[in-house]
């Protein structure tokens, strides 16, 4: 039995649709948000119809993004809990970054870095959603909330965008074959064993493929 001939399902169709809905709405909200963030990047508004148009559409893309994050939370929150191995992993994150993977505790379906990304995105999405609603309707919200949101919204966005930049780098450049897992949904057994050994063993024990 050759590893390359076996497909281990990593993300089912629901999870893939969920992820890419979040990704597309995030990219739209980020590009239009950056246009409104600084005059230096205001030209980013033009391909989306200009400032007046994105003032109307940016909030809706944020609503869509928040909704998909809510969906992710419902689907993944349990899986994303940190166990003792994950905490040990986080303490040695530099080893992961320098590709000394043999010295790290074994990971389950998601490694501790992915879990941290998940929770940081949930946290920033909540902040972005709440402050975004306040900024959306300036004439119906108390001034004190608007003043807080004017600083909170970009602050949360900076954190969120930084996390996603790392996420995109990992997905397209740093971890070979991870993009296929999110686009087509499967990985090979050897990929699973290399990156997520505990999850691999769960799969192996639940199947009779050897």
């Amino acid at each position: 039995m050759k590893s390359s001939e076996v497909r281990v399902e990593r993300f089912d169709a629901y999870e893939r649709v969920m992820h890419w809905m979040a990704a597309l709405s995030f990219v739209y909200a980020t590009l239009t948000g950056l246009a409104l963030w600084t005059p230096v990047l205001y030209w980013l508004a033009a391909p989306f119809g200009g400032g007046f148009v994105i003032r109307g559409t940016h909030p809706w893309s944020g609503v869509l993004f928040s909704a998909t994050i809510g969906w992710m939370f419902l689907r993944w929150a349990k899986t994303m809990g940190l166990d003792a191995d994950d905490r040990a992993w986080l303490a040695k994150m530099d080893k992961y970054a320098t590709h000394q993977h043999d010295t790290l505790p074994e990971s389950g379906k998601f490694n501790a870095g992915q879990k941290m990304l998940f929770w940081s995105q949930v946290a920033t999405a909540v902040l972005l959603f709440v402050s975004g609603i306040v900024l959306w309707f300036p004439e119906s919200m108390p001034r004190s909330l608007r003043l807080a949101s004017i600083a909170l919204h970009p602050l949360a966005a900076i954190g969120s965008i930084a996390g996603i930049l790392v996420h995109i780098y990992m997905g397209i450049a740093s971890v070979p074959r991870s993009m296929r897992a999110m686009l087509q949904g499967w990985v090979t057994p050897n990929w699973a064993r290399l990156h997520h050994p505990k999850w691999y063993r769960e799969w192996r024990d639940s199947t009779n493929i050897r």
């Binding site: 590893s3 600084t38 004439e139 970009p154 930049l165 074959r177 290399l194």
Partner: protein, 263 residues
């Protein structure tokens, strides 16, 4: 040359001629306001109503006093609306000090409403853009005084070079003090760098009585957003992108799965 409106509240008789002149010159329809038991035309400014005489009712010396004050854009030197505006060219400050909205560039986000310490700009539900007093920039550009000034029958309103207006205001304050208004003074708040609409008040110790904030400033969260947060974001974004790139250059991708041996 900076210009200024001088509003001597002690001379206002509440005739509202300035309200009418403003509506006429700016060709705005009057929308019936709310009647709330006051002589005041409506409770607040509106997208199509930029100049409101406030009939502030204040108890003083055992009786009731009407403190008239003309409520409109203050044309601040450090304008909170301008500081908060994310759309380049939507709010401009003219060389004469006028803070003007350019509606072709306005995106209707309403940040100016939040940035303004005087709560002046109003969002129109129909055009989805924000409106306020222009200091009649279309009149001052050709050497005319604003329409409210032109129409005032009591000389409560005057318009001219800013330094001259401040000098007149100081003279008027001295007269009021001589008349027994010991707290008389000029309202030209320094927290926003001074304003191009200046008031003479017969009690400057409590501007709130006239509906004017005591110490208006540009909100610190607006300044945080426009200053340090932009620096922080730039450093974080560029740092992350360059960091990822050089991480790849130094360490390359993570190792590939072994192609085919079986456990």
């Amino acid at each position: 040359m900076l210009v200024a409106k001088l509003i001597d509240t002690t001379l206002c008789i509440g005739c509202k001629a300035c309200e009418v002149a403003c509506q006429e010159w700016n060709d705005q329809e009057y929308t019936l306001g709310t009647f709330d038991g006051s002589y005041q035309t409506m409770p607040d400014l509106a997208p199509n109503f930029w100049n409101l005489i406030k009939f502030n009712e204040v108890e003083r010396d055992g009786g009731l006093s009407w403190l008239m004050s003309k409520y409109q854009c203050m044309h601040c030197a450090d304008a909170g609306c301008l500081a908060a505006c994310p759309a380049p060219g939507a709010i401009v400050q003219l060389a004469n000090g006028t803070v003007d909205f350019v509606h072709d560039n306005c995106i209707g986000c309403g940040y100016c409403i939040t940035g303004c310490p005087f709560d002046v700009p109003k969002l129109s539900a129909t055009s989805k853009k924000v409106y306020k007093c222009t200091l009649c920039s279309d009149r001052t550009a050709v050497g005319l005084e604003p329409s409210c000034i032109k129409t005032c029958p009591t000389n409560c309103l005057t318009f001219g070079e800013r330094d001259e207006m401040i000098r007149v205001a100081d003279i008027r304050t001295r007269e009021l003090k001589a008349d027994g208004f010991k707290d008389a003074g000029v309202y030209n708040p320094q927290g926003v760098g001074g304003t191009n609409v200046i008031y003479v008040l017969n009690d400057a110790s409590k501007p709130e009585q006239y509906g004017l904030p005591k110490d208006p400033v540009i909100p610190w969260t607006v300044q945080l957003w426009k200053g340090p947060l932009k620096m922080l974001g730039t450093v974080v974004f560029l740092g992350t992108i360059l960091g990822a790139f050089f991480h790849f250059v130094i360490y390359g991708p993570q190792r590939e799965e072994s192609p085919d041996e079986v456990e």
